[in-house]
């Protein structure tokens, strides 16, 4: 078995045991990236030289006994909306195409402290707005399981990079499903933590009340270990929550006896692909056999999550993206007359169509005369959705559902009709509105060989319950992570 097919924890152990060095690991990942990037395009920036240099520094610290953690020396990739000091951080947008932050995001600092060797920055939908990674200014990422298909989005680059073995794990961000849906499409494990668990400091904001940073990994154990390094209370993020128990790896136990699992009827009804549905029912059956109590229930309000989400997310985006004006950093239009014309031209040339669409919708719903009818209405709906989840978690420990209505669509199919693309977020956005933790775990493949992902949703701060359920499923099935054919380079 080659080094590339190891999990992050397995690799780190070999590094600690001096069987492999962090430098060898970094070089292997870079070689793999060079082999598959022309086909997959996971990275916006692959920092070859810097990565090898950092790997050498980290290897030294490992040898000196300074770095002894379970992920020390492991090469990782970071979504391009997380700031890294001095490194291009573009949000896959023209308007930030030359931006080099002067500080590093706290989530990145946390994995650096754990000994991560950061290889580069991964492609995404522009400003995380999209479900396919096709709205990137730098061109689309392709699904390593079949390059004619999208990897999902917006963290499509992070998920494709893990699937194609161009890194051992990656960081993504999730505002309405942007970690979970591409993880499902790429056959990897992705987790969106409870809002406030991971600092948003240095995450370029899209919808601040919804955004969370989280791990993308090859298996559940890696995912838990990464989350453990990511979670921290941060005074630089006023929404950061001080959590008592963040020992997520303690939950890696194959035991679901007595666990109460609810499947919302609306999550497995009309609109869901039959093969995805069958895969989910198989998961439910397996967990039931292992001693979980599984039943269907009525979550209610499911169809109201998407309209509420797009009002709130667009409103926050229109406000958050006001800062991109061509004055202090980023792109500035070449030709303008006066200050206001400079702003307008810079933004019109700097943003792509999907970003403009959401800024305009957001400006509209926040404008005088419409604020109550749209924005406050959406916030009231959000309160009702939270209540519906609160009621569900009185009866269940975990909610089981799909991560997306189908497996990965082909490139070009989704952008034709934005509303149709938005509807694909039906199973993921409610989780962000309610601030809940949720994870996507591979649950087989469809008849075309594309990965199917299941989603586990937990009550606030109950990541451990999700990890335990996911780990039980993973132990009972053949581990789902397999090198996709298209991702095979050299090994």
């Amino acid at each position: 078995m080659g080094i590339l097919s190891l999990t992050a924890l397995e690799l780190a152990k070999k590094i600690q045991d001096r069987e492999i060095s962090a430098v060898e690991a970094a070089k292997a990942a870079i070689a793999q990236a060079k082999a598959v990037e022309p086909k997959i395009h996971s990275y916006v920036t692959l920092d070859e030289e810097g990565a090898v240099q950092r790997a050498e520094e980290i290897q030294k610290k490992i040898e000196d006994g300074v770095l002894t953690g379970p992920l020390a020396g492991v090469p990782a990739a970071v979504k391009d909306n997380l700031c890294i000091e001095g490194q291009l951080t573009t949000c896959s947008s023209r308007i930030l195409s030359n931006f080099r932050p002067i500080f590093t995001a706290q989530a990145v600092v946390n994995i650096q402290k754990s000994g991560a060797v950061i290889l580069g920055k991964t492609n995404m939908d522009e400003f995380a707005m999209g479900s396919t990674t096709e709205t990137s200014y730098f061109g689309p990422t392709r699904n390593p399981h079949n390059p004619e298909h999208v990897p999902g989005g917006s963290s499509g680059g992070s998920c494709a990079a893990v699937a194609a073995q161009e890194c051992w794990y990656a960081l993504g961000s999730d505002t309405g499903g942007s970690i979970r849906q591409p993880s499902a499409f790429c056959g990897v494990v992705g987790l969106k933590p409870t809002y406030g668990t991971v600092s948003r400091y240095g995450l370029i904001a899209y919808g601040s009340s919804l955004d969370q940073v989280g791990p993308v990994a090859k298996d559940v154990a890696d995912c838990a270990a990464i989350l453990e390094t990511l979670a921290s209370h941060d005074v630089k993020d006023s929404t950061s929550v001080k959590r008592e128990d963040i020992r997520f790896t303690d939950a890696l136990k194959a035991d679901v006896k007595g666990l109460r699992i609810g499947i919302p009827k609306d999550y497995i009804g009309e609109g869901l692909d039959q093969e995805v549905r069958q895969a989910l029912l198989d998961v439910a059956k397996l967990l039931w056999k292992k001693g979980a109590v599984v039943e269907e229930f009525d979550l209610s309000l499911v169809k109201y999550a998407i309209p509420a989400y797009y009002v709130i997310a667009s409103a926050e985006a229109s406000s958050n993206l006001e800062r991109f004006d061509g004055v202090k950093y980023g792109y500035r239009a070449g030709d303008y007359e006066g200050l206001h014309n400079m702003y307008k031209k810079t933004r019109s040339e700097g943003f792509g169509p999907e970003v403009k669409r959401r800024i305009m919708l957001g400006s509209y719903v926040l404008s005088s005369g419409y604020y109550d009818a749209y924005y406050l209405k959406a916030l009231r709906t959000k309160a009702l959705i939270k209540q519906a989840f609160d009621r569900a978690f009185e009866k269940y420990d975990v909610i089981l559902g799909p991560a997306a209505p189908s497996t990965a669509p082909k490139l070009g199919e989704s952008l034709k009709d934005p509303l149709k693309m938005y509807l694909g977020d039906i199973y993921t956005v409610a989780v962000n509105l309610a601030g809940l933790p949720a994870m996507s775990v591979p649950a087989g493949k469809d008849s075309r060989g594309l990965p199917i992902g299941m989603q586990l949703i937990g009550n606030s701060f109950q990541e451990k319950t999700l990890i335990r359920a996911a780990y039980t499923f993973e132990c009972e099935t053949e581990k789902q992570f397999v090198t996709p054919a298209a991702g095979k380079g050299r090994e």
Binding site: I102, Y310, R332, T381, A383
Partner: protein, 97 residues
């Protein structure tokens, strides 16, 4: 279609968004927005009377700290990102006539 976005409205949204739209972009934006608003209107089926708008799921309070500078002087690094600079300032087009 129940929602109709007028030329004046799209012009106004363009001003609020600080975006300059071509004729074609305006027409597309109108159609997209009408479609989206029609869809969003299903929220009106819900009775939300008496429900408090929820901006954050957890109670969010102001976080205060002593007013002590902890970061160093990053002036040069900050200015390196400037699209246009003049000495130690960001250069912008003339703003006062």
């Amino acid at each position: 279609m129940s929602n109709k976005i007028s030329d004046e409205t799209i012009e106004y949204v363009g001003i609020l968004s600080k975006l300059e739209l071509s004729g074609e972009e305006k027409e597309d934006a109108k159609a997209d927005m009408e479609k989206m608003l029609d869809y969003i209107d299903i929220l009106n089926e819900l009775d939300t009377d008496g429900i408090e708008p929820m901006s954050h799921v957890f109670p969010v309070n102001n976080v205060f700290r002593e007013d002590v500078v902890t970061n160093g002087d990053n002036r040069e690094k900050i200015l390196e990102n400037a699209p246009l600079r003049k000495d130690d300032s960001f250069e912008v087009p003339k703003t006062i006539g």
